[in-house]
């Protein structure tokens, strides 16, 4: 395993894997498209002469934005999970720990129930409300944590996040109870779906990923120290409170945008960092890029499974990620138990 830690080898392997998965996800679907045709459509689109036949329409209007959204959401959720696990020194943390994902889900459900129909470009009212609620949730949780505990201690933040998540779940259940014929839409949305994404969603996700990724990645050395313990981070000169607020705000914003586009997709931010640690070790300088690549590939494959396993019927992607995630997590935990016993 140590040989794999060579930086160049890992980067090349990651890029090759991503290229392979990306191509696979573009070619496979309810309408299989030959690799040669896929390349031809992409080439024609890049040269400004997009093919308008049914293959061109399927690839450029449906499948390509969907695969890109899956990759960007997977990368964002995994990056967020790894940051939160290091920051909170807790292997069970992920981007949803602060309750922001739940907040975004509530926002989307409110939009669906009330028929909130404002659109901005191609972004729907559901997306806009999810982003709004995610922001309000972040401000609420961090603001309350600061009011209760000026040092913003890890325990306070985790506790408030869990309590807030429970409160939002209760409100969501209340909404579902009174949602009538919209029940199916809300339920499907809260389990996650990329069935109706478009290029505007790709733009939103890409912008958020580039912006907040640029905020999070330089914090890798500080996250190593947080993972060792908050007191060590203080002793070695990390500005603990500022780092926490900046990283948590970036993670929450990133997760809020992801949930606003794809709904509640569980386990990606929890499991991918654990799998990535097995390959590249716990150092965040390698772990964060590995999570970006691993998360993107994981979700692209999960989405492929969601749309092809029972084609033409489509499964909510959250069902796939949760089933795979739960099994993988138990296997990883069992492996760690065996390693600890051997040590």
């Amino acid at each position: 395993m140590r040989n794999l830690r060579g930086r160049t080898g890992i980067i090349l392997a990651g890029l090759a894997l991503t290229g392979l998965v990306f191509a696979l996800c573009l070619c496979l679907g309810s309408v299989p498209i030959a690799f040669k045709d896929t390349l031809d459509v992409l080439r024609s689109a890049l040269t400004g002469a997009a093919r308008e036949d049914y293959i061109g329409v399927i690839l450029l209007r449906r499948r390509l934005p969907r695969v890109l959204c899956a990759g960007l959401i997977g990368a964002s959720l995994s990056l967020s999970g790894a940051v939160m696990q290091g920051l909170l020194r807790n292997s069970l943390a992920d981007g949803s720990t602060l309750g922001v994902s739940s907040g975004a889900s509530l926002g989307a459900a409110v939009a669906i129930v009330t028929g909130f129909g404002v659109t901005m470009g191609e972004l729907t009212g559901t997306t806009l409300m999810a982003i709004l609620f995610a922001g309000v949730s972040l401000a609420g949780v961090l603001g309350l944590a600061y009011a209760l505990d000026r040092s913003l201690s890890t325990q306070t933040i985790i506790l408030l996040g869990v309590v807030y998540g429970m409160l939002v779940s209760a409100l969501l259940t209340l909404l579902i109870t009174f949602s009538g014929e919209k029940l199916r839409t809300i339920t499907f949305w809260t389990m996650g779906s990329l069935a109706s994404v478009n290029w505007a969603n790709v733009g939103l996700l890409l912008g958020a990923f580039l912006l907040f990724g640029a905020v999070l990645l330089p914090h890798a050395p500080a996250l190593d120290l947080f993972a060792l313990g908050e007191s060590r981070a203080v002793h070695l000169g990390v500005s603990v409170r500022r780092t926490k607020v900046v990283c948590m705000a970036a993670v929450c914003a990133l997760c809020g945008v992801c949930v606003s586009v794809g709904g509640g997709i569980g386990f990606v931010g929890l499991v991918t960092p654990h799998m990535a640690r097995l390959v590249v070790g716990p150092s965040h300088k390698r772990l964060l890029p590995a999570c970006i690549v691993g998360g993107a590939n994981f979700l692209m494959l999960c989405d492929l499974a969601a749309r092809t396993l029972f084609s033409p019927r489509e499964l909510p992607i959250g069902v796939i990620t949760s089933i795979i995630g739960a099994v993988v997590f138990i296997l990883l935990y069992a492996k760690r138990g065996r390693d600890d016993a051997d040590a």
């Binding site: 020194r89 190593d224 640690r277």
Partner: protein, 253 residues
């Protein structure tokens, strides 16, 4: 550094006064031993000095208040090795030691520390961890973890090195080596050491000054032979400490 001066230092946590009215002056080349029974406020003092816990009173390094310094600047000047566990992630020994260079990294990409590799190698050699550099810290024994924490502190290279019970878990060979390394450290120009010690013989043997704490208050401060007198030790521990130490040493005579 030339001097580190604490005046009327107090620490309050959760409404409880843990440390009160502590004053001392540390010059370059000094080794201050902080001693006292459990709950006397020894570790609290080091946490305040290291910037982990807020304090009242004055704490100046070369006449500059420590609380006004930015975290990285402060960390380069005052660094603490404490008893905290290493967490649950399986970093290698070398990765943990290398983290000691954090305050010296600069810029957006956290690079630009030309002395990093040399400092890491030296710290690993000094603590005899070169052979364990690729081992996960989670698989180390208590003594090896303690050496790893010491190596990180040495790699960190602060001007004032704070050590909280550094000899814990170490076998006698490494205890002896620890005191040798620490003594060499404080003799480097512009360097000084503050250690919390339970081993009063070591405090008496190696330190240049001693501070005795009792229930969060200073009981004595000065040269080891006067601050660690029989009378003061009796007041701090409520027992004949010197008599007990003599009785134990007679076993070997």
């Amino acid at each position: 550094m030339r001097t580190l001066e604490a005046s009327s230092l107090s620490v309050r946590r959760g409404g409880k006064l843990l440390l009160s009215e502590v004053s001392f002056r540390l010059n370059a080349g000094d080794w201050l031993a902080v001693v006292g029974p459990n709950g006397a406020g020894k570790s609290t003092l080091l946490k305040a000095l290291a910037g982990e816990w807020p304090y009242a009173g004055d704490l100046d390094l070369d006449d500059r208040p420590l609380r006004q310094m930015k975290p990285r600047e402060r960390s380069k000047l005052v660094g603490l090795m404490d008893q905290a566990a290493f967490g649950q992630f399986s970093f290698t020994v070398e990765e943990v030691v290398r983290m000691g260079r954090y305050p010296y990294r600069r810029g957006f990409l956290n690079g630009g520390d030309p002395e990093e590799d040399q400092a890491v190698e030296q710290a690993l050699r000094d603590t005899d961890l070169t052979g364990l550099r690729h081992r996960s810290i989670l698989t180390l024994s208590g003594g090896e973890q303690q050496r790893c924490a010491l190596a990180q502190a040495l790699c960190h290279q602060p001007e004032v090195l704070l050590l909280d019970e550094p000899a814990n878990h170490l076998d006698l060979n490494f205890q002896k080596e620890l005191y040798r390394i620490t003594d060499r450290w404080r003799q480097r120009p512009g360097h000084a050491v503050i250690t919390v010690l339970h081993d009063l013989s070591a405090a008496r043997r190696f330190s240049t000054a001693a501070l005795v704490l009792h229930q969060g208050r200073p009981l004595a401060y000065g040269a080891p032979e006067t601050a660690l007198s029989d009378k003061i030790l009796l007041a701090a521990w409520g027992m004949d400490v010197a008599g007990w130490m003599r009785e134990m040493s007679e076993v070997w005579s």
